[in-house]
């Protein structure tokens, strides 16, 4: 393994994309993700790649659609308001069965909101990043190392199933530095891209990248086929981390930045003799329901900790289905919860005095 370096999350993620073969980046400045674009603008020309600052988020995601149609690894990055603008293009990418990498370095919303870290785009990322029946493969890193490691994973899964992939980061992970090591250069699996519109060279039938199907039955069949792939993704690509869950009576479910805070709180609770644990969803879609299910019987209660008003809790409740109480603690608007606040919630649930 290479030497550990200190890097900002945004820059580490950008470097990871370059290292796994992304040579086409299209973006637009927005805080707190701009370092991704700045890093790409510095590095990509030297790698013979293309950095293009688009006229808008809308244009940028459609440039990604064009480049990925050609069969190359392309990406764009933005923060919450910019992701809303990209939603049109993301829907077309999903509807055209194209892989692509989209980064959301979340900030507070709605509207222009704020620029401090948030997780309030969970619903958007996992339920409706654009119109229509479709899903993205959504990964939630919680460390800078994961910002690096999840990039090749996002590309590989996206290409394998021909679905767009999102890394749902936030302003904290984007801006902070941690020691990180880049994997030794390795050839990542090259997916079949026989569908690419890169010129048929008179050697094959023409390819069409398209999301328009005027006949309802034809569109329905296509969507059903896509949902078979989604079912396979749900079966094979769920990822979650369990921390001190085996004997836990109170299990926190938290992803990304809030999972870090929650882990500290769990350790403090354990020191006080409270049997707390943490499930950290790594894939937000597919949601790791198998991991949650494993613990429904033995634990007494779930506590969702999020940097929003309660979004992922819906998915937790769907798995738990009323068998155990599921409560919520969140801060929003760009406020990062403190371990002390989460610990206070755990104590309250455990019936201990604060």
């Amino acid at each position: 393994m290479a030497e550990k370096v200190l890097m900002k999350g945004n820059e580490a993620l950008a470097e990871a994309a370059i290292q796994c073969g992304c040579r086409h980046y299209f973006g637009y400045p927005i805080t707190p993700q701009t370092e991704v674009a700045a890093y790409m603008s510095k590095r990509l020309p030297k790698e013979g790649g293309c950095f293009l600052q688009a006229e808008s988020e809308v244009a940028a995601i459609n440039m990604v659609l064009g480049a990925t149609s050609a069969g190359v690894r392309a990406m764009t990055s933005s923060s919450s308001p910019g992701i809303s603008l990209k939603s049109e293009g993301v829907s077309y990418i999903g509807g055209s069965d194209l892989p692509a990498l989209i980064i959301n370095v979340q900030r507070g919303g709605p509207g222009l909101g704020g620029i401090q870290p948030s997780q309030s785009d969970y619903w958007q990322a996992t339920k409706a990043l654009g119109h229509g029946d479709f899903q993205l493969f959504v990964l939630a890193p919680s460390t800078i190392q994961e910002m690096v490691d999840f990039v090749p994973l996002a590309y590989e899964v996206g290409e394998k199933y021909r679905v767009p992939a999102m890394i749902l980061s936030d302003g904290m992970l984007g801006q902070m530095m941690e020691p990180v090591e880049f994997p030794e250069k390795k050839e990542t699996a090259v997916a079949d891209k026989s569908w690419a519109t890169n010129g048929h060279q008179n050697k094959r039938k023409k390819n069409i990248v398209n999301s328009l199907y005027i006949q309802p039955e034809e569109l329905e069949n296509l969507i059903k086929e896509r949902y078979e792939r989604y079912a396979k993704i749900k079966e094979e690509e769920q990822r979650a981390e369990e921390f001190m869950c085996e004997d836990a009576e109170i299990i926190i479910v938290a992803f990304g930045a809030s999972s870090r805070v929650s882990r500290s709180a769990v350790m403090q609770a354990r020191a006080e003799g409270i049997k707390a644990g943490l499930i950290r969803p790594i894939t937000l879609w597919p949601f790791p329901d198998k991991t949650i299910e494993k613990h429904v019987d033995h634990t007494k209660q779930f506590l969702c900790v999020e940097m929003n008003m309660g979004q992922m809790i819906d998915d937790v409740k769907l798995v738990v289905s009323g068998r155990k109480p599921v409560s919520f603690f969140g801060r929003t608007g760009g406020v990062i919860p403190t371990p002390a606040e989460v610990l206070a919630e755990i104590r309250a649930i455990a019936g201990k005095e604060n």
């Binding site: 086409h24 244009a59 459609n62 659609l65 064009g66 077309y92 010129g199």
Partner: protein
């Protein structure tokens, strides 16, 4: 027996869905003939836009991508940056190019994006059933300007070639039409130049084709041609608005 007329190879054997008297068919054929003559079908990728010509992905035999409404220049940019040695063209209508996609259009042009744009201006939204377009003429009656386009509230039609000719990145901006044999020949020459410009890496080329929409204009095909000559051409004069080969163009 000598073959004197045949379907261009770059056009597929699928009947067009276009209405009688619509000029899309002619322009499709011209684009296909140019692709044949330049021998570039195998390396060409076309971008279909939203509008009546959305199904052009079924008609051209080269690889095709269908773009969101207005985003064809952005999609073409992504394709071209990934495939710099291929030939990338967009085929867009007036609503797509000059309303919802104006930002993408202007910025692709000003970047000198090395693509070829075929722009069909028929002064109306065809596919959605005849609403006012950014190029609908003053006083023109459409479904959404039932009393005629009132410039006091709806503003004035956009002259795209004139606008784009002010941008340094534009290599060619030429307006043509296909109402006569002579004009059809001129249109083909312009389209061919647009593709050649790309092959010679000269930058953004746009060929605006002043076109008809008999169905939504409420006219017969013959009346539509007359209406085009009497109303469209005075507002949208034919000619070369910018040609970097002939510094300044002739307009």
């Amino acid at each position: 027996m000598a073959v004197v007329f045949e379907k261009p190879k770059a056009l597929s054997d699928v009947p067009f869905h276009y209405c009688p008297g619509c000029t899309h068919g002619i322009v499709h054929r011209l684009v296909a003939e140019v692709i044949d003559e330049l021998g570039i079908e195998g390396q060409t990728v076309g971008v279909a836009s939203v509008g009546c010509s959305v199904f052009s992905y079924n008609y051209f035999n080269c690889d095709m991508v269908q773009a969101a409404h207005g985003r064809a220049p952005a999609v073409a940019t992504g394709l071209k940056r990934a495939l710099p040695e291929n030939v990338i063209f967009t085929y867009q209508g007036d609503g797509d190019l000059a309303a919802i996609g104006m930002a993408e259009t202007v910025h692709a042009a000003t970047r000198g994006e090395n693509i070829t744009v075929i722009f069909i201006n028929n002064a109306i939204y065809g596919m959605t059933g005849g609403q006012m377009a950014p190029t609908s003429l003053p006083g023109q009656v459409t479904q959404t300007s039932p009393y005629g386009r009132d410039v006091k509230t709806a503003g004035y039609p956009v002259r795209v070639c004139e606008l784009l000719s002010t941008l340094t990145g534009t290599a060619l901006a030429q307006r043509v039409t296909v109402d006569t044999v002579a004009h059809v020949k001129e249109a083909k020459k312009a389209i061919k130049k647009g593709f050649e410009n790309q092959i010679n890496k000269k930058g953004y080329s746009i060929i605006e084709v002043v076109s008809t929409c008999p169905t939504n204009w409420g006219l017969s095909p013959q009346e539509a041609i007359t209406w085009l000559r009497d109303n469209m051409l005075p507002y949208y004069p034919l000619g070369v608005y910018k040609d970097i080969d002939a510094e300044g163009g002739d307009k």
